[in-house]
């Protein structure tokens, strides 16, 4: 009877909502109960955006995450805003290319992933979100890594199917860190 709450946060345009959507579809494909809740409004236009995903073996109560098990921080303001809300024993996965700061808490696990740099090096600068998501898949137990291709195919429109391979590579880079 497990449930994992994942809060993804960053600037609008970094693919926070897409990464969350991928995790939600991942849950769907593996028979999990789930909720996906985006922040919405003016912050979508360049400010901070965040997205709450809950994957669970039992029905999801509130879709609002107040104490995430996993925080994915893609910029400094997001880290600062949510660092203290992470549940003790929880995890933070952050983009260390963009966040030049260390997390002071010692009751959580922190993974410094230079995702933006890794994405540039791999030739798909916009996919740091999926590198971080690959790392998320490594660190959570509620869904397994297998079946990413099918999951991506299930919600990426056919005319953008050409992007699936890149997304898979990005996930793999993050997963194999």
């Amino acid at each position: 009877m497990a449930a994992t709450s994942i809060l993804l946060a960053g600037f609008g345009g970094q693919g926070v909502l897409f990464a969350g959507k991928f995790l939600a579809y991942k849950g769907l494909s593996q028979g999990k109960q789930l909720s996906w809740l985006p922040s919405y409004g003016p912050e979508m236009r360049g400010g901070t955006a965040n997205c709450s995903v809950i994957l669970s073996d039992t029905p999801v109560g509130s879709p609002i995450i107040t104490e995430p098990d996993v925080l994915v921080a893609m910029n400094l303001p997001s880290l600062q805003k949510f660092v203290n809300s992470v549940v003790p024993g929880g995890k933070i996965i952050l983009d260390s290319t963009l966040i030049d700061a260390k997390v002071e808490r010692d009751d959580i696990e922190v993974f410094y992933v230079p995702a933006t740099q890794l994405a540039k090096d791999a030739g798909f600068a916009t996919l740091s979100n999926m590198i971080l998501t690959g790392k998320v898949l490594k660190e959570i137990d509620i869904v397994s890594y297998e079946g990413n291709k099918e999951t991506l195919e299930s919600f990426i429109p056919a005319k953008k199917a050409g992007l699936i391979d890149m997304n898979l590579k990005a996930l793999q880079i993050g997963y194999e860190l």
Partner: protein, 352 residues
């Protein structure tokens, strides 16, 4: 088991409406319900339906009024300030006894307010909003699945009783995605001999109108309408009970607040507090009988709302003030945390 798909709450409303046979959508954009219009704009032209973005909310509700008079399934959707603009039309639709579906994905108010989720249009939805004596059937979904199922139910009830069904949702349920299926969509069909479909010289012409200058005639329509409302109050209340069997404390909450409240009920049970939840699914008709029954065995009630305390008045009326009812609330687009609700449950347990 039908296939599960992931959808936003707003999209689920639109898809369900189409499945319910709605081919006429008139609206005007406003956050946080715009996905309904966007979905309709995409789908309606492909299935021979009408999507029309009107020049204003006032225009769109009157288009709904006109289409409803012909007996077709028709809807509009908006968010709080937009619903206020539609209030005149809602009253005309009620005064003319035509069926319609209106969606309010609420945001914080009053005034232009904000765009974050709220439940502060409870009074407006359940007590009128427009002028005159009238009621709307008010359905309060708490999940994406219910956004769909209550939309279909709303069309059915609207046709059955010749009145407006309102889906009273909020920004959270509108924007969130959950897995849903459309398997149990039951579309009811009702004869509409009153509809303006052209008499072809075969029958007397029908009139759809809300103007009655003779007070005795107008009074008669009011009394007849309230006879119909009485049947709705008797037959149509819907609610969910959660852990109520041995409950001493009863939490009452609808929509997104009920989801938060459920988390708090589970946490309070873990502390040994006997607490349950009654979730009204219809806000009008209010599940008075369920609340009255709970007042016999529970010693206190907690009303959890995203407003300054609106449903709490109906909780007090339904329980005939036999037990204390406290309010646990946030407003303006804020949502109470499970901890805040838990604190209110603990206080109610101590008799505070």
């Amino acid at each position: 088991m039908a296939e599960l798909v992931l959808m936003k709450g707003n999209e689920a409303i639109a898809e369900a409406a189409i499945r319910a046979g709605c081919r006429h959508y008139f609206g005007y954009p406003i956050t946080p319900q715009t996905e309904i219009a966007a979905y309709m704009a995409k789908k309606m032209p492909k299935i021979g339906g009408v999507f029309l973005q009107a020049e204003s909310e006032v225009a769109s509700i009157n288009m709904v009024y006109g289409a409803a008079a012909t007996g077709c399934r028709v809807m509009t959707s908006s968010s709080s300030p937009g619903i206020s603009l539609k209030a005149e039309g809602l009253s005309y639709i009620a005064g003319s006894d035509v069926p319609a579906l209106v969606v309010n994905v609420q945001r914080g108010g009053p005034g232009l307010g904000g765009i974050q989720p709220s439940q502060s249009d409870y009074f407006q939805a359940t007590k009128g909003g427009g002028h005159g004596d009238y009621r709307m059937i008010v359905l309060a979904p708490a999940s994406v699945q219910e956004m769909a199922s209550l939309t279909i139910k709303g069309f059915n009830l609207a046709d059955k009783y010749r009145m407006t069904s309102m889906i009273l949702a909020d920004g959270t349920i509108g924007q969130m995605m959950e897995p849903i299926s459309f398997e149990d969509a039951e579309i009811e069909k009702y004869e509409k001999p009153w509809a303006l479909t052209g008499h072809e010289n075969k029958r007397k012409h029908n009139i759809v109108n809300s103007l009655y200058l003779q007070p005795d005639a107008l009074e008669k329509t009011n009394f007849e309408r309230y006879e119909r409302y009485k049947v709705v109050e008797e037959n149509e209340p819907m609610w969910e009970e959660y852990m109520m069997e041995d409950a001493e404390i009863c939490v009452v909450a609808f929509g997104i607040a009920s989801r938060v409240a459920k988390n708090a009920v589970v946490a309070a049970r873990a502390e040994g507090i006997k607490v349950g939840l009654i979730r009204p699914i219809t806000l009008w008709p209010f599940p008075t009988k369920a609340l009255r029954a709970a007042a016999v065995k529970c010693k206190a009630f907690v009303s959890v709302e995203l407003n300054m305390g609106q449903m709490i008045e109906d909780v007090r009326l339904a329980t005939e003030c036999k037990r204390p009812v406290t309010l646990c609330n946030r407003a303006g687009g804020m949502i109470p945390s499970p901890d805040q609700v838990l604190e209110s449950i603990r206080a109610a347990q101590k008799g505070e």
